[in-house]
Amino acid sequence: MTTLLSASGVSRAFGGLQALSLCNLDVEKGSITGLIGPNGSGKTTLFNVITGYVKPDAGTVTFNGQNITNARPDAVFSLGVGRTFQLTRIFSRISVLENMLIATQHDESWLRGLLRSKSSKTEVDNAMELLDFVGIAKLADLQAGALSYGQRKLLELAYVLVADPDVILLDEPAGGVNLTLINGIAEKIRTLNKAGKTFLIVEHNMEFVMSLCDSVTVMHQGSNLVTGTPAEVRANPLVLDAYLGGGDDGEDDLREAVASA
């Protein structure tokens, strides 16, 4: 296996808070990699650094062997790194289908956007196919703001897929949605993974992570603590300490999930 996406020695401070310190992470090509850790351990900040939303103070991020450390979000996306957000971010005042079309032009010049129509037949077909894949094709003409939370999550996943990224970063895909939908989402991820997509997933739902991921990295206080297969991570006493010792969050389910494993 080869490393597709890698962060090494990444540090970032916000004021006095060291959100990331010398953090390392490798994502193997074709894998589903999980990223877990207590609240405030820097998972989302790492996502933001990788996708260009936050500039690191130190360290490098490489994708496909290319250094993308200080690249802007649009450039990172164009290279093939897609992501979703913890609180879903869709474009609420345009239609669901229009949401799908935004990500299609990442590789075309902005000037050309002026001279061409909103979408071509192929783009619409492709968009509808993906909407169908996540199961919200019926809602294509609806204003996106009218979607429920779960539907928004699906839409966000779908419009990232439009650009056919090589690796997809999911920030809490199972957060705040019902069990049926969680299973549905896991199913989509597996299907896509079989088709060759690499995933990096931040998630608090241990069952979800442990059942889905090939490799799990545990973060603690801004750096990577343990990396291994789900079974190895479960067995590692350091992980339990990280969750219990952190003391800054009351995530009982997490504690139980890790402890009972």
């Binding site: 649009d74 869709i90 549905g184």
Partner: protein
């Protein structure tokens, strides 16, 4: 076969085209000229600010640049007064664009709240410059060569050129709304950072939109200068202009195609009428301010959206009535859940 919607457009266009042929009183045709000028400006303003959500309150910069371009070129090129001067109208638009690009580059580096304030500041730079520079004639303004065609039909050519600007601005706005570029502007309005993360080149898109919208406003300013024959910095760089076109668009419906047209038609026509009727400027300010408040407080979405929502609600009620009979009406199920 015309659809019902297109029929309305054709009907409206016919009314506008025939207006100066039917109404010949110069008092009213003057109001007509100002109204089409503002309709073009509001539509053009909406094409950037309405679609992108970046509210610009310095459009008078472009209006004024267009007006001064017309005046200065007419004077310095020793143009014969008359219809040949209309060729300077697009030049005014181009000059406005030339100013808009660097202004946009500076002002669009910040987020939308600060952007508003910067556009206001830039506006004051231009106003002060027009007052203080020598070549603008300072506060005594500039006089254009006097146009001598007949008094009775004096307004008509201006009206039609203004109408052409309205059509141009509307078609452009429509084309932008249908283009990929327009979709990107809407995406920026809804969530700029997310759009960036999906590969939208937000800076380039914003600056292009801002610059494009200056074109028609500059042309309108040039037409205005030609129409009134003399320009003063305080009238072409007028803060009321900035706010008026924004208000017109809000009144009609921000981000809609017909909204700015309708808003400008209602507001500018009544404003001109009020000015003629109430010579008392203070009373006029109070009336205008009050109208302004009523609109924004009670119809924050604008007339077009307000009416559209009412129609939609009616349709929905009817649909609900139908659906009530049809128990098996399928619920739109959550996607992943089987």
């Amino acid at each position: 076969m015309l659809s019902k919607k297109n029929l309305w457009w054709v009907l409206a266009a016919a009314v506008f085209a025939l207006f100066p042929l039917v109404v010949t009183n110069p008092l009213y045709t003057t109001i007509g000229v100002f109204t089409v000028i503002y309709m073009a400006c509001a539509t053009s303003w909406n094409m950037f600010s309405g679609y992108s959500g970046y509210i610009a309150l310095g459009s008078a910069v472009f209006y004024g640049s267009g007006a001064y371009t017309m005046a200065l070129l007419s004077i310095h090129l020793h143009m014969a007064a008359g219809s040949s001067q209309f060729w300077l109208v697009p030049v005014g638009g181009l000059v406005a664009m030339a100013f808009a690009a660097p202004i946009g580059w500076i002002a669009l580096r910040v987020r939308r709240h600060t952007f508003v304030v910067i556009t206001i500041a830039v506006f004051f730079i231009f106003q002060l410059a027009a007052i203080n520079f020598g070549f603008t004639g300072g506060t005594s303004g500039l006089n254009l060569p006097f146009i001598t065609w007949g008094f009775q039909n004096y307004n008509t050519p201006f009206y039609y050129v203004g109408l052409i600007l309205v059509v141009f601005a509307t078609l452009l706005s429509m084309a932008v709304r249908r283009s990929r570029f327009g979709l990107q502007l809407l995406a920026i309005r809804d969530d700029e950072d997310r759009a960036l993360g999906l590969g939208v080149k937000v800076s380039a898109v914003k600056i292009t939109g801002f610059t494009m919208s200056a074109f028609t406003v500059g042309m309108a300013g040039a037409l205005y200068a030609l129409f009134v024959g003399q320009i003063y910095p305080q009238f072409v760089f007028d803060p009321m202009f900035d706010v008026s076109i924004a208000l017109m668009t809000f009144l009609g419906g921000l981000g809609t195609l017909t909204g700015p047209l309708l808003g400008a038609l209602i507001l500018e026509a009544s404003q001109q009428y009020l000015t003629v009727t109430f010579s008392n400027g203070s009373l006029y300010l109070i009336l205008f301010g009050a109208l302004f408040l009523i609109v924004i407080i009670f119809m924050p979405q604008g007339i077009v959206v307000y009416l559209r929502d009412r129609v939609t609600k009616r349709v929905e009620r009817e649909r609900a009535a139908v659906a009530a009979n049809d128990i098996a009406s399928p619920d739109v199920a959550l996607g992943g859940a089987r």
